[in-house]
Symmetry: C2
Subunit: 190 residues, 2 copies
DNA sequence: TGAATTTCTTGAAGCAGTTCAAGTTTTTTA
DNA sequence: TAAAAAACTTGAACTGCTTCAAGAAATTCA
């Protein structure tokens, strides 16, 4: 049931069977339909989400009223707003499913209990978040140094399957250009 | 000697005096002159740096040959390339001091030893990196939604002192616009 | 201090990508 | 399976910011 997450955790740390039991008893898997919100702007985020099936995204609504995706989370990715989570401040983001999903939602209180019972998990979350931070820095590098077309081609090369999986306008906003321009890039009219 | 770091750590966890001793014995503080490099592109990063005095930055050299700053680190900030650090891959970044600095350099091997001796530190680094990741997401939000002038004004409002502290062309590249445009923004010619 | 270096400024020309508006295609749902 | 909704396309007009070039000002260092 939780094998996806357990496998992911055990890439970084080793759990014995007792710890696995404790962990499993603290988790719940839920099905979430496409386009449902896990978090809305203004709410305080007190849950972290692990996607075991499907795809979710973090987005904002910009001053022009257009949605802009900041991050996608597919299978084996965590998604949350850590700033809201840690500072208990209203979130600047929406988190929403892009497909029908299976998601492990881990609430702050439960996570804190788990971290006390299984201190090793601290290491897991440390490494995962350090890597995520590293990935965010690379993302900023790409945004800074590549043209729109280069960003699209680079992304397509890195994640060829994923490109088919989400509406092109969402991917366009993730890569920081307009849906219309995406259309022109894909048609080779650039 | 290490009070800045100890204070920072104890914002998130509590250390007893024995743990403090262990920690201090594993640290070294070094003075680093302005413009020295802590990491260069292509090197594998196996050290994390904590700035206790001065200012460092992470930057890249873009295809046009211009430096672009991705991140600044002032007093009480960690700076490193976590992707290179964790994956043992060549770094995409330079890390360089912007002012004369005092820096605690913590090497991977030493840090791993410390994390075993003082498991609580895992929690400290987890929280710090989760917050950093949250901050990186906010940074992407600002880059996505604000005009160049708005980004400058917003940054100036958040960090009024810091704006004076670094060359304006570095700040311009951090905010993702040209040095010339920075000059025009500051002169009100926009 | 004076020379060298670094940083900042200014205006003109250019362009990568946006915006708008309208139509077409694809997907979803009742 | 028809109607509605969501997603994609196209071209024309526009614009926020870059690029270039050259000089001025500030800072560094011998």
């Amino acid at each position: 049931m939780f094998t996806a997450l357990l496998d992911h955790i055990q890439k970084f740390i080793t759990l014995d069977s007792e710890e696995i039991d404790i962990l499993e008893s603290g988790l719940t898997l839920s099905k979430v339909k496409k386009k449902e919100h896990l978090l809305k702007e203004g709410q305080i985020c007190n849950t972290i989400y692990f996607v075991t099936k499907g795809c979710a995204r973090q987005y904002i609504i910009n001053p022009k009223g257009t949605e802009q995706t900041l991050q996608f989370a597919i299978e084996n990715w965590w998604i949350t707003d850590y700033l809201s989570y840690h500072n208990n401040t209203p979130s600047h983001f929406y988190i929403q499913t892009v497909e029908n999903c299976e998601i492990i939602a881990l609430e702050k209180k439960d996570l804190e209990t788990l971290l006390i019972k299984i201190p090793k998990l601290e290491k897991y979350f440390r490494i995962v978040s350090q890597k995520s931070f590293g990935a965010a820095q690379m993302r900023i590098k790409f945004l800074f140094t590549m043209s729109a077309e280069e960003r699209y081609n680079h992304f397509k090369k890195q994640q060829p399957d994923f490109v088919q999986r989400v509406p092109q306008y969402m991917l366009a906003s993730y890569l920081d250009f307009s849906a219309e321009f995406m259309s022109k890039i894909r048609a080779g009219k650039v």
